[in-house]
């Protein structure tokens, strides 16, 4: 009887916990708005001329943030970037439209706990109860896909950041606009670099089995093969994988010299650490998301030599001269101004997630200015037509029916963790060659 009771409970618990695990970690719910904005330090874009009639409207921007759960690290940086933009604009007096209306911004945000269920519930709440005028996506492709459905159903414009998966923009949506370079292109720059380092490299593709990473691999494999590389292993792993030992054994067994893949911060950093600990002789490691985060240096020597694609790097920030050379309109602060303001506000150097959050606000600001209105349809038309260059890079959207809102104006760089003269781990841009701050370390271990 006792045994049966235990078994019954065990079965229920296992099923329950397994279902919870499938949906992501879910600690205590937080109903109250949680995001607080720090004091702004400097306004990059001054308010336009003083209004004649000072009618003021407050535009509410709604979003969820992963204050807890698997996406916490990157999500917090994204939200910090967005809040910095909002505070700067508001403290500079807001935006002034041609009719004298002053537009100021307010954020409404909740903790989505890194779960899709919470995202859908909260975006519905943001739209129907909080009356958000515009939406910013949560962090990660999976959560954004869940939020985009709600935004589209309710006719709200959503600017996505931290959401690279291509599929979301191929669902026929008309009000979802992507800031990041699409996932299918994430590792193509890395392959280009690899071709100059070792055209005969044998590649093992090992990736998280989530929406974003699968999209990245979907673009990576055909591109690598088209460049003449041999793919010797393809392996997907669950998001909560902690032990990469069996997978690393497979990599060794496959004869791979290069490992490309990963997924998000927790698994990517774990994978890098275990590759280092086992000293398996891999010559090049390219991992998604984790390496561009400053927290990655906590891995110590395990971080050395690991590369990752980055949407933006302070050391290779885009400039007004670059925009002028391309004949594209420049908008917003310089990369140096953004970095200084971010460091002053948060005491940390900005990563590309922070730059993405900031630029999401900047993009909305430019669209409202271009539309000279805060009406959703006018702003949407302005976003469709936008073609600008910011410190974050180019921003332009696909307007075809097949992939409306897909980012087509932005390109990525590749970073690598190297040691400076003082022996400290630093992130260097190693590709493209014309913006590289250091030559790549290759091979990272003796062949």
């Amino acid at each position: 009887m006792k045994r049966t009771l235990f078994n019954l409970f065990a079965l229920m618990i296992v099923l329950g916990l397994a279902l919870t695990a499938c949906g992501g970690a879910a600690p205590a719910a937080t109903e109250a708005p949680v995001v607080e904005a720090p004091a702004a330090t400097e306004a990059p874009v001054a308010a336009t001329e003083a209004p004649v009639v000072a009618e003021e409207v407050t535009v509410t921007i709604g979003f969820t943030a992963s204050q807890t759960g698997a996406q916490e690290v990157s999500s917090k940086r994204q939200v910090n970037g967005f809040n910095l933009w909002m505070n700067q604009v508001n403290e500079a007096g807001g935006l002034t439209l041609s009719d004298g209306t002053v537009v100021k911004f307010a954020a409404q945000s909740y903790d989505d706990e890194s779960t899709k269920e919470r995202v859908q519930e909260l975006y519905t709440r943001l739209i129907t109860e909080d009356n958000a005028d515009f939406l910013i996506s949560p962090y990660s492709s999976g959560l954004t896909a869940a939020a985009a459905v709600i935004a589209e159903q309710n006719g709200k414009l959503m600017i996505t950041t931290g959401a690279a998966d291509d599929d979301t923009y191929k669902q026929g949506y008309t009000g979802v606009f992507q800031l990041y370079t699409p996932g299918s292109l994430y590792l193509t720059s890395t392959v280009d670099m690899l071709k100059t380092l070792d055209p005969a490299a044998k590649i093992a593709i090992v990736n998280e089995s989530d929406k974003f990473s699968t999209a990245v691999v979907g673009g990576l494999k055909p591109y690598a093969e088209s460049q003449g590389f041999e793919i010797v292993l393809e392996e997907a792993y669950a998001s909560d994988t902690a032990d990469f030992g069996p997978i690393i054994n497979k990599i060794v067994d496959s004869g791979a010299t290069v490992v490309l893949g990963g997924g998000h911060y927790p698994d990517g950093s774990t994978f890098a650490r275990q590759l280092y600990e086992r000293k398996v002789g891999i010559q090049f490691i390219g991992i998604l998301v984790a390496p561009p985060d400053s927290k990655f240096s906590e891995l110590g020597d395990a971080a050395l030599g690991v590369t990752g694609p980055s949407q933006w790097e302070g050391k290779a920030t885009h400039t007004e001269e670059e925009a002028n050379g391309l004949g594209i309109e420049w908008f917003g602060p310089s990369g140096e101004e953004f970095s200084a303001a971010f460091e002053a506000a948060y005491g940390d150097k900005p990563t590309y997630h922070a730059a993405g959050g900031y630029t999401a606000g900047l993009l909305l600001e430019r669209a409202i200015r271009n539309a000279d209105s805060v009406e959703s349809e006018a702003v949407k038309a302005a976003l469709d037509a936008i073609n600008i260059f910011t410190f974050y890079g180019g921003i332009k959207f696909d307007t075809s029916a097949e992939a409306h809102g897909l980012q087509i104006g932005h390109s990525m760089v590749v970073i690598q963790w190297q040691k400076n003269e003082a022996g400290e781990l630093v992130r260097e841009v190693v590709w493209p060659a014309d913006v590289a701050t250091k030559a790549p370390i290759f091979p990272i271990t003796a062949p």
């Binding site: 045994r3 409970f9 296992v14 919870t20 600690p27 205590a28 069996p246």
Partner: protein, 288 residues
């Protein structure tokens, strides 16, 4: 042939990890075996053990393995505290009451842990080197963790079978009323048992932290494994739990040699259901 070499490379890893799984499961099954309480705070206590190692390593600058001597008594005391505050009053109530009580403790620990540590992943950057044997690489941290797990199991076994309090625990587990009639202070023994269970959970967490990253939410996965091991192996039987842990560790190592890694949970939990149906007393016939 390729699969065989992969198998040989992965098997030692699975065995080493299995020992640590076994210790985690022992904590859960000990509490159930003695007092019929399913401890749903087991996972967060494992996570607290992980943070114990982290704090000892980074704040006190101590070797993580020396830190075990601090984590273990703290785990014991925490367990006794949880028992006194949350479990004792519902020990004779229907199972749902103790289930809800320990679930509440679970939520409290996760809430406090999230406030203190956030849910960001933490790493204990501690390297004990590695040993290469042909195609197999054995990490020093896992070897020592397995050794510590064996020592913990042996110590528990000796405690239960060779000491007076241990015999009291077994007596209470067999028949609480009879034990009380013999003058055994059952409440204190139950508190001690709960403390021992949480101590084992904390030790397993402290060991896992030396080779895997963790967050305050990480314990959930190991709690899940502990339930599976509880069914596979021993109920209140430390050796059975250890064998169950080894079985799970080996499965996790061996399955990827033959198929995609994503099949691991499918097969693991498929086996779990099968054991429930075919051998409800567990693969190793653990005694009550």
């Amino acid at each position: 042939m390729q699969q065989i070499s992969l198998l040989l490379a992965s098997l030692p890893d699975g065995i080493l990890l299995g020992f640590v799984y076994g210790v985690a499961a022992m904590g859960l099954t000990l509490i159930w075996g003695v007092m019929n309480v399913i401890n749903l705070s087991h996972g967060p206590i494992i996570a607290l053990g992980m943070f114990g190692t982290y704090l000892i390593f980074f704040k006190l600058g101590l070797n993580p393995y020396l830190g075990l001597f601090l984590v273990a008594p703290l785990g014991l005391l925490l367990g006794i505290l949880i028992y006194v505050v949350a479990v004792h009053r519902v020990i004779n109530a229907p199972h749902l009451s103790s289930l809800l009580a320990t679930f509440s403790v679970n939520m409290i620990i996760i809430g406090l842990g999230t406030a203190a540590f956030t849910t960001s992943p933490y790493n204990v950057d501690f390297n004990m080197g590695s040993v290469s044997l042909g195609s197999t690489t054995l990490l020093g941290t896992r070897l020592i963790a397995a050794l510590a797990a064996v020592i913990a199991t042996g110590s528990l076994y000796l405690f239960l079978y060779r000491t007076r309090p241990g015999k009291y625990i077994r007596a209470v587990a067999n028949n609480r009323s009879a034990a009380e009639l013999m003058g055994i202070p059952s409440s204190r023994i139950l508190a001690l048992s709960f403390g021992l269970g949480t101590m084992l959970a904390a030790i397993s967490g402290a060991l896992i932290a030396t080779f895997f990253p963790f967050s305050i939410l990480s314990g959930g996965g190991y709690e899940l494994k502990s339930f599976v091991i509880g069914v596979l192996g021993g109920l209140g039987n430390p050796v059975g739990a250890l064998i169950g842990g080894l079985t799970l560790g080996v499965l996790e190592a061996v399955i990827p040699a033959f198929m995609e890694t994503s099949w691991v949970p499918v097969i693991e939990f498929g086996l779990f259901i099968l054991v429930l149906l075919v051998r409800p007393n567990g693969l190793f016939g653990a005694k009550q």
